[in-house]
Subunit: 220 residues, 2 copies
């Protein structure tokens, strides 16, 4: 074995040892913090997953600074009309996952989804076959189906609430002034059947001044 | 095999299948959201670890609501004088871990720590052997040591900044009015040696009106 090879091996060993030491120090921080939440399993889990993320991406001080600034902006823009933390949860898929966790899978059931932010409590009732568009811009669209229980029993009288964005990607409540468009509720008829007219739903944008872009870690 | 045993087995199979289906649905949400951040590895990692946490604790809708409300309060109490998101990061150990990740382990080095929130830029300079207490309440305390590089070379002239809480667990800046106590900086002398007087440091409390308690998931 040459001196040079020995040097390389020694250097490699030293580097391995440093990496082990580094991992051990980081794990010690995680264990100590988790132990401080000894009575609270949820916080312990949060700490462990949050730390795993930081180690995974080797979180830089700059990214940490950006994350703090991002959360601060998100907090300051949140008020009675805008809930940016919910929007952040939506963008990160946490809202949808939470719904999925709490409405367990059933092959016979329509998959549940998040309760959208544009629901309004006093939407108008429409009759079977009526039109919820109320003058909203868009291509007319006819919707029909049947409401059944997971065992297949038809459910006449089931309440169906519908609200949707128009062709410009906006809900009625996003316009200045009061209008009611693309929104309504109806009851399933005999045999659980329902049908109504509206306009073809479109994708809609979310405000991009805070939560959506940029997230910390992306280029500013 | 009795009919009853067959029923049990069938029921067990059905339950296993539902559990698999549930896991698959949850994983599909995570994969879809991660894919939406395809250009950003850090966000993908955040999504995966955040979702792993939610699945781990089977996050309830109530806990999710509490988390949103908690973050909203944390945002609203944050201003020019209080940074509650940093405090939250501290409490969750993320600040300390970030420091650890960015200042890799070196057996010969003093472990780095977080840059505390009570640093003040214009602290007074004191001479070697001087007193930084400035009248702070507490038991007198003498501190001495030597500043060396990681290779063991003494570092005369190294700057040492010191700030600490008094016997009541408060920093000078936490009192009404302006005072400078338990705070100062000095330069290491010949041979890297330093020494100064102060009061014995004490643990100090952090505000408990938002970030510290309760975290979402703990009893209110």
């Amino acid at each position: 074995m040459s001196a040079s090879t020995r040097d390389q091996q020694s250097s490699q060993q030293s580097s391995d040892q440093q990496a082990r030491e580094q991992r051990a120090r980081e794990q010690a921080v995680t264990d100590m913090v988790a132990a401080s939440f000894a009575d609270a399993g949820s916080e312990q889990s949060l700490v462990r997953h949050l730390h795993a993320f930081a180690r995974d991406v080797r979180l830089s001080q700059h990214e940490w600074d950006a994350a703090i600034a991002f959360l601060t902006r998100t907090g300051h823009i949140t008020d009675d009309r805008r809930q940016e933390f919910i929007l952040l949860s939506d963008v990160l898929g946490l809202s949808m996952l939470t719904v999925g966790i709490n409405a367990p899978a059933d092959d016979a059931a329509t998959e549940s989804t998040v309760f959208g932010p544009f629901f309004v409590d006093d939407a108008p009732r429409i009759e079977l076959g009526g039109d919820i568009a109320g003058g909203a811009a868009g291509t007319p669209c006819f919707v029909s189906g049947t409401v059944r229980s997971t065992s297949g029993t038809a459910l006449p009288g089931a309440r169906i609430d519908v609200w949707e964005a128009d062709a410009d990607g906006r809900y009625d409540v996003q316009y200045e002034g009061r209008r009611t468009q693309g929104r309504g509720w109806l009851l399933a008829g005999e045999g659980g059947g329902y049908r109504f007219w509206s306009v073809t739903p479109t994708p809609y944008a979310i405000p991009d001044d805070t939560s959506r872009s940029p997230l910390p870690g992306t280029a500013p």
